[in-house]
């Protein structure tokens, strides 16, 4: 008899403890992303630590691949298996595609409470919202029309004043090549060729041409002589890369510039994270400048965390994570390490280095256009068609006129 009561008491006690325990412990967040290079992973630990402080565990699910293609494939498999991760790093039109499928969670209440509408630029909101509902929390704003230069090499060739137009840029590259360095550090992956293409379109035709061709897909502009000149300039750049560039990862190309082996790299400002992690100081060891001819214009891409619909227990952690991601303190801390600009316009720029301050200033006053190379100007199918033509031309020998014809036909076919 006594033993039975003891058992009942023990059972009741453990049940009570269990209930208390489950109320306190929030669900872990499982995050799918492709931030696997050194600088990026470091930036992500800022978020991990933040959430850890709130008692939310972090299940990391990195899928390497600089442009995010593999991560999107893994995501599709997970969603089909009804086992979507809690939050997914996503770019541009992918967010819209998934929201159209009805797989994303609605964050309107949180957005209203935190006042997101007022502080997030309209160009970004176009992707964070689907049919007026908030589905994603923007983490940062990267832009792709940047050039990263090794200051020592640039000083050596006498380029103390940074080139401000295309011809000036080419003459600097010639001088670097003459000195025996690799002029342009580049990785021969299609998305990297496309990242350069963004800047070259912008500098050749200006903001209006970029909007007409890369966003509106105007056939006349796409088939024009200006586009031919864009491809001519891509061919020019091809002459400044080294022989081993095929298949090289972007951070290895950055390493070439960091280690005094190459002069410049045309890459988005996530490259700055690599320089910072290697202990280099902007203005002293490396310089950052807009792709010559594109000053005041920004081809942006914004990493956003999309919250997927799951069970209601995970929803609390999702909203906690979204709130943490959008807090000004986190936006400042994360973006300082990552190399990007905050997605909120009201974050003070004290903690940022010179390149970061430049980026934030351009964001506030410049012309913001979605980057084609990173899924912010056209949907994936059309982006694929454009990138195919760009990379084929960059790696092959076909003429610019042929490339333009293929571009027009390819885009038409992918619509």
């Amino acid at each position: 008899m006594k033993a039975r009561y003891l058992k009942v008491k023990l059972l009741a006690a453990s049940l009570a403890l269990g209930l208390v325990g489950s109320v306190q412990a929030a669900e872990d967040v499982e995050v799918l992303h492709w931030w696997t290079s050194g600088g990026e992973a470091k930036a992500l630990t800022v978020l991990k630590d933040d959430l850890q402080g709130q008692g939310i565990g972090w299940k990391d699910m990195p899928v390497a691949g600089g442009g995010g293609e593999k991560a999107m494939t893994v995501l599709r498999a997970r969603v089909q298996a009804k086992n979507a991760p809690t939050a997914v790093q996503m770019l541009g039109f992918d967010i819209q595609d998934w929201a159209a499928e009805g797989a994303t969670a609605n964050m309107n209440d949180l957005a209203k409470a935190e006042g997101w509408d007022a502080v997030v630029p309209a160009a970004l909101q176009r992707f964070s919202k689907y049919e007026g509902d908030w589905v994603a929390a923007p983490v940062n704003v990267h832009s792709t029309n940047w050039v990263w230069g090794n200051k020592k090499i640039l000083d050596e060739v006498g380029a103390t004043e940074l080139p401000s137009d295309w011809d000036g840029f080419i003459s600097v590259l010639d001088k670097i090549k003459a000195k025996g360095y690799t002029a342009l550090a580049h990785g021969g992956q299609p998305w990297q060729d496309a990242t350069i293409f963004d800047g070259v379109v912008l500098t050749t035709g200006g903001a209006d041409f970029y909007k007409k061709t890369m966003i509106d897909l105007d056939a006349e502009a796409l088939g024009s002589k200006t586009m031919e000149m864009v491809f001519d300039r891509m061919r020019q750049l091809r002459g400044y890369v080294d022989d081993n560039f095929s298949g090289r990862d972007w951070n290895l190309a950055s390493a070439m510039v960091i280690e005094d082996k190459a002069g410049v790299q045309i890459m988005g400002d996530w490259a700055k994270g690599e320089f910072i992690k290697a202990g280099k100081v902007p203005g002293k060891d490396f310089v950052c400048f807009r792709t010559p001819g594109t000053q005041g214009m920004v081809t942006f891409n914004s990493d956003q965390f999309v919250m997927f619909k799951g069970d209601s227990a995970g929803e609390k952690s999702q909203l906690a994570m979204a709130k943490a991601v959008m807090s000004p303190a986190f936006q400042s801390a994360f973006n300082v390490v990552k190399g990007s600009a905050p997605a909120r316009t009201d974050v003070p720029n004290d903690a940022f280095d010179d390149c970061g301050k430049k980026a934030m200033a351009d964001l506030a006053s410049g012309d913001l256009m979605g980057s084609m190379a990173h899924g912010h100007s056209v949907p994936a199918a059309i982006k694929g068609a454009i990138v195919d033509v760009v990379t084929k031309h960059f790696n092959g020998k076909n003429s610019s006129a042929d490339a333009v014809k293929e571009l027009v036909a390819g885009i038409e076919n992918a619509k």
Binding site: M72, N244, S246, A381, G384, N395, A409
Partner: protein, 314 residues
């Protein structure tokens, strides 16, 4: 004796003699092969043929990122044939397929003939030629990528050994990259083809060879007129195996060139994967998968038909 025979038909259960096939247990015994094969049969019907039909269905719908049920007929096939990458993929498949099958066949046959000369080291040499087959295509692709990289592998080594003007940059050359895929593929599979031919050579009747020698035929003539014509079935098997491997070559291309400088080494398998999963054009990807299936079927189905027809005549 007779008592034993009388009793035999009344026995049941485990004591029954094994060749009695009447009754329920008899039925079980007769159908035992069918029962054992039934699960695999059902799984194959469902997962192979069922999903082939499902892919065919998807290729006629407007599926983009996820499957969709809007029927659009053969529009995806029209889109497919207008896509630049698909033309490149088909050209590459033709180049890779023809070279891979021909070179593997010739090399395999030559190695088999050479090994068949009753040399002392045969037991030692044969596994060495077969070892590459034990590697996965990913390992082969990665190893050859390092070997053929101008800055890391063969070209750099030649430069360091003093031969400065040596250049072998096929891997990063848009026009020649597909031939590097052929090289890696041939290295992997020629050992396997050699093993097939060796078995075939061993199966040739020795009496015929002796008769040919008695008639004064040289070694070369013996091979050309007597032995090789009898290897017909082996040629056919090798062709079937090699052609299906050539059409499916995905991991080799991905590991070796990642699709090539630009899109120079795109093959139907990589095309199908990227269009279905990465570019949100599932309908077009499914259409390309159906085309790949029809290509393989065009080779295998006549072969199967010939085989089964031959058996029935026996």
């Amino acid at each position: 004796m007779s008592a034993f025979h009388l009793n035999y038909s009344e026995h049941s259960g485990p004591n029954k003699m094994n060749d009695d096939t009447s009754g329920f247990l008899g039925w079980c015994r007769r159908s035992l092969p069918k029962i054992v094969l039934a699960p695999s049969f059902v799984v194959t019907i469902c997962f192979v043929y069922g999903f082939i039909i499902y892919t065919g269905y998807i290729s006629t719908t407007a599926s983009k990122m996820l499957p969709n049920s809007k029927f659009i007929g053969l529009t995806n096939y029209e889109k497919l044939w207008r896509t630049l990458n698909w033309q490149v993929a088909l050209d590459n498949l033709a180049i890779f397929g023809i070279l891979y099958i021909t070179i593997c066949g010739v090399l395999g046959l030559t190695l088999a003939i050479l090994l068949d000369q009753k040399i002392r080291g045969e037991g030692f040499l044969r596994p060495i030629y077969l070892y590459p087959m034990a590697l996965s295509f990913i390992v082969t692709g990665t190893a050859w990528k390092w070997f053929l990289n101008p800055g890391l592998g063969l070209e750099k080594t030649m430069h360091e050994w003093g031969w400065e003007s040596f250049s072998f940059d096929w891997l990063v050359n848009s026009e020649m990259a597909i031939y590097t895929v052929v090289m890696a593929g041939v290295w992997q599979t020629s050992g396997f083809v050699m093993a097939m031919f060796l078995a075939g050579l061993r199966g040739v009747d020795n009496e015929q060879v002796k008769a040919a020698q008695l008639d004064g035929a040289s070694s070369f003539q013996t091979y050309k007129r007597v032995i090789i014509p009898q290897l017909g079935p082996v040629f056919l098997s090798a062709f079937v195996v090699l052609s299906h491997m050539a059409i499916k070559a995905y991991d080799l291309v991905v590991a070796l060139t990642g699709g090539g400088p630009g899109n120079a080494t795109e093959v139907p398998a990589t095309f199908m994967y990227s269009y279905t999963f990465t570019r949100n054009q599932m309908g077009v990807g499914a259409a390309s998968a159906m085309i790949m299936l029809m290509t393989i079927a065009a080779i295998i189905v006549p072969y199967l038909y010939a085989e089964t027809r031959g058996k029935r005549h026996e």
